[in-house]
């Protein structure tokens, strides 16, 4: 039986807030989630949703108030688990007195490689993220995008089973974003698990096998992007062509959006056949009929709207 790549069970994190009278603010609320091996999993949510908190908990940078998690079957408290993971922090910053090659060589020492293996792995990782030409430049001279690439290089340097990426597209230009997407696709082809947080929903929709939406620390939904958005059909969309708009049946031209001789009409599913009848009578040429489904963005924004007005503070005193 396959062990899940990531198993999160009731993970909760409270932070103390206030100076004199400390209250606890819940940043992550009873998160339970499972990510299978080889999945590309997108973790979506607005700022302050708890995405980075979750990643930090899984990496062991912060400690849970309650709950537990396992990565590759090993507890997150077990430092040996870190041999199986790679991690790109949000807005990464590295030792700026080192060159990119020195930085990667430094990190690869923690995996116990010999000098020749280190040289080889570092060269390959730099090549992979497009930094081979800047390998011997000190990181203090790197742009934000270059730092992000160096961060990805150090995360994949040791061929980890699970790669955690916190906002990997942040700060990258369109070319950089495409390169990161390519790396994620390549990791999936190699059978690695990728768990990444993002604001960019189109990337998530394009890359992810499954996504989870987190708002104010609470999980709103998990599933394949097409599953999440295909629960409901918002209506129908008809594209048609009419040489002369005066020939259209009354009401049709007013309801449609015109572009030259082409028209786009969005209507409730129940009205479809009646409108088709009108179009036939108008001698219009039907180009396409499609179902209108909410996008991941629609779903995401609805979840945010539902949750955001609520207060996040919980009345726990230390």
């Amino acid at each position: 039986m396959n062990i899940p790549a990531i198993e999160i069970l009731g993970l909760t994190k409270d932070y103390p807030v206030g100076f004199w009278r400390k209250r606890m603010r819940r940043s992550l609320d009873n998160l339970t989630l499972q990510v299978e091996q080889g999945e590309v999993f997108g973790f979506l949510g607005p700022n302050g949703a708890g995405k980075t908190t979750t990643l930090k908990l899984l990496i062991g940078l912060i400690f849970p108030t309650s709950g537990t998690a396992r990565v590759c079957g090993r507890s997150i408290d077990d430092v040996g688990m870190h041999r199986e993971i790679g991690y790109l922090p949000e807005q990464p910053y590295f030792y700026d007195y080192l060159t990119a090659r020195e930085l990667l060589d430094y990190y690869s020492r923690f995996s116990g490689y010999g000098a020749a293996a280190r040289r080889d792995r570092v060269a390959r990782a730099l090549e992979r993220v497009g930094l081979a030409g800047a390998a011997d430049v000190q990181l203090r001279k790197f742009s934000k995008g270059m730092l992000q690439r160096a961060g990805i290089a150090q995360a994949i340097l040791h061929d980890p089973q699970v790669v955690f990426l916190d906002e990997p597209m942040s700060g990258l230009d369109p070319v950089g974003r495409r390169e990161v997407r390519d790396i994620i696709v390549e990791l999936r082809q190699q059978g690695r698990t990728v768990f990444f947080s993002t604001h960019i929903l189109s990337d998530a929709e394009m890359l992810c096998d499954r996504v989870a939406v987190l708002v104010t620390g609470k999980l709103q939904g998990v599933g394949a992007p097409e599953e999440i958005v295909s629960i409901e059909v918002r209506g129908m969309e008809i594209l048609f062509e009419a040489r002369d708009h005066r020939g259209l049946q009354p009401g049709l031209a007013e309801r449609a959006t015109r572009s030259g001789t082409r028209y786009r009409l969005e209507l409730p599913e129940a009205d479809l056949y009646a409108v088709l009848e009108q179009l036939r009578a108008s001698n219009a040429r039907i180009l396409s009929i499609t179902q209108v489904r909410p996008t991941l963005e629609d779903y995401f924004l609805r979840m945010v709207d539902r949750e955001q007005p609520q207060s996040h503070a919980v009345g726990v005193t230390p």
């Binding site: 790679g86 030792y95 990190y107 923690f110």
Partner: protein, 259 residues
């Protein structure tokens, strides 16, 4: 013993070198050159005493400044700049990271102190005196300075695990000064004959490192022999104290949330 601390230590040393920390050696060299020329002019017959006193005091002060000001930023800087995040995602324990940072700064201090000692030897040679057997005391005094720096670095690192550099500097210097006068504080407590004051003074005496025992500058300057029992005592004391402080630092840091 894991190799992880050594990896961190070497990088910490490299950071110190690239951040031009060893530039302080230039000031030390200038001080020694100036002092050698001046001493030859004004102090006939006591050149040795003056040069050794000045040289060892400078080695101690320069080292102390480095130990405190770099030590208090060792962990704090890594958290503030978030360089620690990607590092702790590697298979390294937080305690190993701390030991590595400590080892790296100590290595920097040892290299720095060694080069300054070499400078002192050159200055002594310049004022025209042959090296004597009693000069071994100078090396022991330097060794004591290194032990003192090892203690100060451990304290600075400990405070840097949970407090800001400004507060850590104040705490470390506070303990250093208290430690310099530890015996006087204990004697003062005894003089008051007040059991509460006596208790507090004794507690301080045993709690803070007794830095007074590490000051062998005057003995070295006067060519006195430093007993080997003191060398052994100071070595064991430092080992024990540093181990305890690093264990405490590790205990604090290992459960700290890196927000």
């Amino acid at each position: 013993m894991s190799a992880m601390p050594a990896v961190v230590a070497i990088n910490t040393f490299r950071e110190a070198v690239r951040d031009r920390v060893l530039y302080n050696l230039i000031f030390f060299a200038l001080l020694m050159i100036g002092a050698s020329i001046l001493v030859g002019e004004i102090s006939v017959g006591i050149e040795r005493l003056v040069i050794i006193n000045l040289g060892l005091a400078a080695i101690s002060i320069f080292g102390l400044i480095m130990a405190v000001f770099i030590g208090v930023g060792l962990v704090y800087k890594e958290i503030e700049k978030r360089t620690l995040y990607s590092l702790l995602a590697k298979p390294i324990r937080r305690g190993e990271f701390l030991v590595g940072k400590y080892g790296g700064l100590l290595l920097t201090l040892v290299v720095n102190t060694s080069l300054m000692t070499l400078g002192l030897a050159v200055a002594l040679f310049y004022v025209g005196r042959p090296f004597l057997r009693s000069d071994a005391s100078i090396l022991i005094a330097v060794y004591f300075i290194v032990l003192e720096l090892a203690l100060v670095t451990a304290l600075a690192l400990f405070f840097s695990c949970f407090s800001s550099p400004v507060l850590s500097t104040l705490f470390t210097l506070g303990i250093y000064l208290t430690g310099m006068f530890a015996a006087d504080i204990r004697d003062f407590g005894d003089l008051t004959r007040n059991p509460v004051v006596q208790g507090v003074a004794r507690l301080l005496y045993y709690l803070v490192p007794n830095f007074h025992n590490f000051n062998a500058i005057a003995a070295a300057a006067h060519g006195e022999t430093i007993p080997l029992t003191l060398v052994l005592h100071n070595t064991l004391y430092t080992l024990l104290y540093v181990t305890l402080v690093l264990l405490a630092a590790s205990a604090v840091f290992s459960r700290r949330d890196l927000k």
